[in-house]
Symmetry: C2
Subunit: 204 residues, 2 copies
DNA sequence: GATGGAAGTTACCGATCGGTAACATCCTCG
DNA sequence: CGAGGATGTTACCGATCGGTAACTTCCATC
């Protein structure tokens, strides 16, 4: 009588997927473990047997979200093999799609806002994820031959992070609508002489 | 036996100040009304007589935070009377100070992350605040004679919003450390020919 | 000094929270 | 088939949540 496919997914994975969705929808503190277990078509005991605590479930969800986000780097390389500049532009495009389509920002950044407690097991996951993303983008900008690659990559990071969080406050017609234009301007400027990106008004 | 000064502040204001601090420290959903009342050296009944519900207290706190944030526009004008460009740069400087010193982002943006519920009374406060900030900065950029003032102001907004939220994930040494450099580069670029900001590689 | 409103106190409500014990059932694999 | 581990079920725990009732005390004002 069981479903052909969906119920063949083990409870652990069902819980993870369901929890990620509900955390996004209601916020981490806005949904309880019992509701998560029921939505995952299982029960609280099974949830606790797999994850031990709500905090660990949160951390595991974020680990999965981080791994999923890391896949985009493979996709970028696969779609633009060897062309680092195209990959940077692809990063902007993918980011823009997320900003426009999702409505809720980065799971890990949102979790950092909701969990100011410094001892929470999720904090380490968040920190490591963000550091890795930063390094990867910086490396990409370097390989793309952009001027001031570290500054450009951090600028792009801030623009995307700002767009995703700002959309949650203002909606899709706010400043986030300019994310692509802003990012492209930054990239374009850094393809010229370095002085163009740094304040420097001396005559040619 | 009462304190000379601090206890002369009415309970309503004590509650608002305390709630703002505790919301910042523990998150909106991470602190209860009873704890807020006690920290404000009063009690739950008085809190509810003044605000009616926790949700309304949240909204009122954000209203106050928004009003306080609006004071910076007066300060900018007072410190740089008539010099719109200097005010834009002052906006960057003040934003950088907040990023570096506060450690926790914009109260209103954080609240938007913690309260995905669209019917929450705080949502309207957040939206109106962010829209007003956007309009004011855009107006400032226009008066400063910058090229593409709307694009520049939204870019600056995204950079600041990104810096404040990213700091909560990565800490002060992450991409947010480049906020000033990024913002100044954007401003500098928009002081030149418009083509400098928009992708345009034609020869001179 | 009397009065009225603001504030404090205590106790309580139902609901929900995260988390656990004990036991029944299922499914897989040897 | 049999056995053992994974899963389901039910009931329960203490704590805390947001919110309220009833009553007392304070304090400024007239």
């Amino acid at each position: 009588m069981r479903g052909i496919c969906s119920d063949r997914v083990r409870p652990r994975q069902r819980i993870l997927d369901t929890a990620r969705n509900l955390f996004r929808k209601y916020g981490i503190k806005g949904i309880g473990v019992e509701a998560i277990a029921e939505a995952a078509e299982t029960n609280k005991m099974t949830l606790y047997r797999h994850f031990g605590s709500k905090d660990e479930l949160i951390a595991e969800c974020l680990r999965e979200a981080a791994n999923r986000a890391c896949d985009i780097w493979c996709d970028l390389e696969a779609q633009n093999p060897g062309d680092a500049l195209a990959q940077v532009k692809g990063w902007v495009r993918i980011g823009a799609e997320r900003v426009l389509s999702e409505g809720r920002g980065c799971d890990l950044a949102n979790a950092a806002v909701e969990l100011p407690d410094g001892d929470h097991p999720a904090k380490r996951v968040i920190q490591e994820f963000k550091v890795e993303q930063r390094n990867r983008l910086a490396d990409l900008c370097r390989r793309a031959g952009l001027q001031n690659p570290d500054l450009v990559s951090d600028t792009l990071s801030l623009l995307l992070e700002g767009a995703r969080v700002n959309r949650q406050s203002v909606g899709p017609d706010g400043p986030c609508a300019q994310f692509v234009a802003a990012a492209e301007a930054v990239i374009a400027a850094s393809q010229r002489r370095p002085e163009t990106l740094i304040a420097d008004d001396r005559a040619r």
